[in-house]
Each structure stands twice: as structure tokens, then as C-alpha cells.
């Protein structure tokens, strides 16, 4: 059990798992020969076999191939969402923390307002108004998710601005912009990255959730949430059409969560020993 106590080993192990997932997402489609969109009604709802490892869905499409292709859609949507909301949120937070006063109050009241909405409901509303599509889902989730980063960025910046070396940099005549991008941003980046890494898992869930409800990816896209929904209609006859996309989500989300945890353990100086 020593292995699980060594933070570096844990991080390496989960990084390996993540690399494997990313590898599958990037190169998987080149490796499997089947077409994820080719329906073949004569092979509809076949159980898992040597030819169709995860069986086929009601349109006779190979589930394994669709899950591999789905990794691409899910991962790219998630990464874009997390990047978008962490960048925007952190930027707003830094501006609020650094400028203080009225700017701070204004930006933070907007943040409070956004936080008062239940996230997923607002995302459904936004995606519903904009219409279901991959891009709109990303936008909707980013609009809901940036507030966490704004709060984080603000509190870290407030703390940092009080620190001696920032004060010293000011007394050395450092220009405000240089202060921001040379000292403040690099010093809070670590926490933002850790938070972002831990958010990836829940974002995959939310994207799959929106797609499941029909607000995200649209048919015939191979997307895990959407596959779950399509599989739901034939659950009794072809449970594999639901089970395997579900397992894919479970595997990927837990991998990213555990990876995020191990990254936090590794980078959090207060927990080092």
C-alpha cells in the first residue's frame, strides 16, 4: 500500500492513465476501422461479440467505435470549457482584486448574481435559448462556471498584493501591467491550474448531462451523453448500448478526478512534508 501513499508515484500513475485516455481520443479513430456513423439495420442491437466488442445500438452502429470517437468530442469540449472559464474567471478575479474599490464591488456583485443561479439549470436555459449544439454547450457551461475562478483569482490576488515582494516591486517603480503579468499571474497560476484540473471531471459529467437531455451534441454525433440517451430507448433489449457509454464516462471522470487530486497533493505546499 506504500504505492498509494507516495504522492509522486500516484501522480505519475494517474498521469499515465490520463495520457492513455488522451491518446485514445487523438489516435483512436485511426486505429479502429469501423465507421461510427454507418448504420446497418441488419446488425441492429447485437450483443457484445468478437466482431462488435461493445455490441451495436439500435441503428446497428458499432458501440466500441462510437465510444472511441466520443472521447474526442467529450474531451475537446471539456478542455475548451475549462480553459475558457478559468481564463475569463481568473482575469476578472485578478482585475477585481488588483483594482479594488468600485471595480471590485461591481465585478463581485455580478459574480454573486451569477452564483445565485443553480448552475446546471442556467446552463440548460442558455443552451435551450441558443439551441442545442456543441459550441453552445461550451458557452453555456463557461458562462455558468467562471464565477468560481473569479472568486479564487480575487482572493489570491488580494493576498498577494499585500505580500512584501509585490509591495517592493511597486516601490521599485514596476509598471502596473508588468506587475500583473510578471508577478501576480505566475504566482496564482498554480492554484488556478489545480482547480482547473479538478474541474475537468465534473465538466465531463455536465457536458454529458446536457447532451443526454438533448441540449448538447445533436444526433448523429458520437457523444457519450447522447449515446446514453439513445441507448435508454432500447434499454431492455440492448442494455450494452447504455452500459458501455456509462462505463466510459465513469472511467474517464474518475481518472480525471483522481488525477486532479494527486496534482493538488503534489502542488499544495501546505500539505508537503
Amino acid at each position: 500500500m506504500k504505492f498509494f501513499k507516495d504522492e509522486k508515484m500516484m501522480f505519475r500513475f494517474f498521469s499515465g492513465v490520463i495520457l492513455f485516455i488522451v491518446f485514445v481520443a487523438v489516435f483512436g479513430p485511426f486505429l479502429c476501422s469501423a465507421d461510427p456513423y454507418a448504420s446497418n439495420m441488419t446488425e441492429s442491437m447485437l450483443p457484445p461479440s468478437a466482431q462488435h466488442w461493445f455490441g451495436t445500438d439500435k441503428l446497428g452502429r458499432d458501440c466500441f467505435t462510437r465510444i472511441i470517437y466520443g472521447a474526442r468530442v467529450s474531451l475537446s469540449m471539456t478542455l475548451v470549457t475549462v480553459l475558457l472559464m478559468s481564463c475569463i474567471g481568473t482575469l476578472i478575479g485578478i482585475i477585481a482584486g488588483y483594482c479594488g474599490g468600485k471595480v471590485d464591488t461591481f465585478l463581485m456583485r455580478i459574480t454573486d448574481m451569477m452564483m445565485a443561479f443553480p448552475g446546471i439549470v442556467l446552463a440548460i436555459a442558455i443552451a435551450g435559448v441558443l439551441g442545442g449544439s456543441v459550441v453552445n454547450t461550451v458557452l453555456a457551461l463557461a458562462v455558468v462556471g467562471w464565477t468560481k475562478y473569479a472568486r479564487l483569482g480575487r482572493s489570491l490576488t488580494l493576498k498577494l498584493v499585500q505580500s512584501e515582494f509585490i509591495q517592493a516591486a511597486v516601490t521599485n517603480g514596476t509598471k502596473p501591467f508588468a506587475l500583473l503579468h510578471r508577478h501576480i499571474v505566475p504566482n496564482i497560476m498554480q492554484m488556478v491550474i489545480v482547480t482547473g484540473a479538478m474541474d475537468i471531471g465534473s465538466m465531463i459529467m455536465e457536458i454529458a448531462g446536457l447532451s443526454f437531455l438533448g441540449f448538447g451534441a445533436q444526433p448523429p454525433t458520437a457523444e457519450w451523453g447522447l449515446m446514453l440517451n439513445e441507448g435508454r430507448q432500447v434499454m431492455q433489449m440492448a442494455p450494452w448500448a447504455m452500459i458501455f457509454p456509462g462505463l466510459a464516462i465513469l472511467f474517464v471522470v474518475s481518472s480525471f478526478n483522481l488525477w486532479g487530486d494527486s496534482l493538488r497533493d503534489l502542488m499544495d505546499p501546505s500539505r508537503s512534508h
Binding site: E164, F165, N172, G173, T174, K175, P186
Partner: protein, 266 residues
Amino acid sequence: MLLEVSNLDISYGEHPIVHDVSLKLDSGKVIAIVGESGSGKTTVIRAILGCLPNEGHVTNGKIVFDGKNLLENTAEEWRKVSGKDITMVFQASGSMLDPIQKIGKQFVEYIRQHVDVTEEDAYQQAIAMLKRMNLPNPETIMDSFPFELSGGMNQRVGVAMGMFFSPRILLADEPTSALDVTTQAQVVEEMMGICRDDGTAIIIVTHNLGVAAYMADEIIVMRNGHIVERGTSDEIVNNPKEDYTKELLDAVPQIGGLAHDIYEAG
């Protein structure tokens, strides 16, 4: 007159901290402000550089530098003065440097904030300045993080940065109190030497009367935000008038204490 501070009052929030402080400083001269912790000595020099912490603000008085009242400066004017014409050396320069960036990068950045030179030129000039501070292996120091250097090294890097532009005034906030006695003497020597060469005026804040007596032309003794006594080093050390000054003199460590020797001799 290079710098004239007149009737300066400073408050933190509603709470007055410094009362009616005046001082005059000519080029090349050294003034030492001594006093116990909380006497407001650091607050005075922070006000001169316009970097009072949070709630601090000047409620009355003038700070005239080069014929211009600094208190009327805009933020951009402050920025141009501070770090170039007036610089500050801190008590622990190690914590005054960005912990996640190498010394070299910060030094070069500091230079390029004020003058338009290439990174390569700035780097060479920084190396030259570190050599002037008698720091061994300046290239290694430039390639180190602050936490990789000892307190004394960091402090000398801080002094080197403070002295880089040959400022008109160097404000030194307890520049030696975090150092051991041997390093103290070296840092003081180096600061004095460079200031003499460049004609820089110094205001040094310290609770070490030995250092003050050694460096300063004039000593100002402060307590609870008031000036208790002022005079030439000689007057203060050899002929103190106020009881508080005598107490401070008695508090100087006896072993090898410079002030003690002077005190005894007088």
C-alpha cells in the same frame, strides 16, 4: 536642498501614528532615524516613497523633493521617481523578491522598467553592479532563486538593486538587522562606499545606534511618533540630552558595539 520634509503627520485609519516630523537632507549626506519598534520610523520613510500600507495616509505636512511636493504626485509620477531617483532597501530583501523567479530575471526586469535597454545589456550591467557589491560569482547569483541564497547574499542583492541607478536618495529600512554582525559590517561598508562614490544621500532607519553612529551625519531619535531628540552623530552619542536617548545608548550590545566604544571614549 535635496529633500525637505516639514511638519509631517501620518495616520493609519483614524489612528495618528507620526506627529510633526521635519527633516532636511542634502546630497551625499546620511541621516539615521533610530527608535524602538512602533516608534513610527519606518512609516516616515515609507511616506517619502509613497508606499504606506493600506490604511496609512499623510494628514498634514509636505515632502518636497527637488523643489516638488511629492504628495501631489500622480501614480505615474510616483512610479517614475520610485525605484530610480528614490529607492528603498528593505529589512529582508529575500522576502522582497518574487519567490518563483530567478534573481537575474527580476534584476533585468527592474532595470528595463526604468530605462530602455536590451535584456543582454541589462544583464551585463546587473552583473557589474553585483561585482561592485563584492558578491562572488555574480553569474551564479543571477541564476538562483531567492530561497537558494543566504540572508546576507539576498540583502546584498537588495542593496545592489537599490543602488543600481545611483539614486539621489536611498531609503534603507533596517538594512542590516536581519544579518549577523560580520555581514552587517560588510553590507554597511559597501553601502557607504557606493553612496560616497555616487553622491547618494541616505536615510537609514535602524534600532542599532552603533550602525547609526557609524554611518550618519545626523541622528534623529523617535519615540511614539514624535521626534525626541536630534543632532549630529557626535552630539547624540557623546552628549545625549534626553533620558530616552541614554536608554537607547545603554541598550546597544556591549561586545564589540561600536556606539559603546564611542560612548566610552567620549
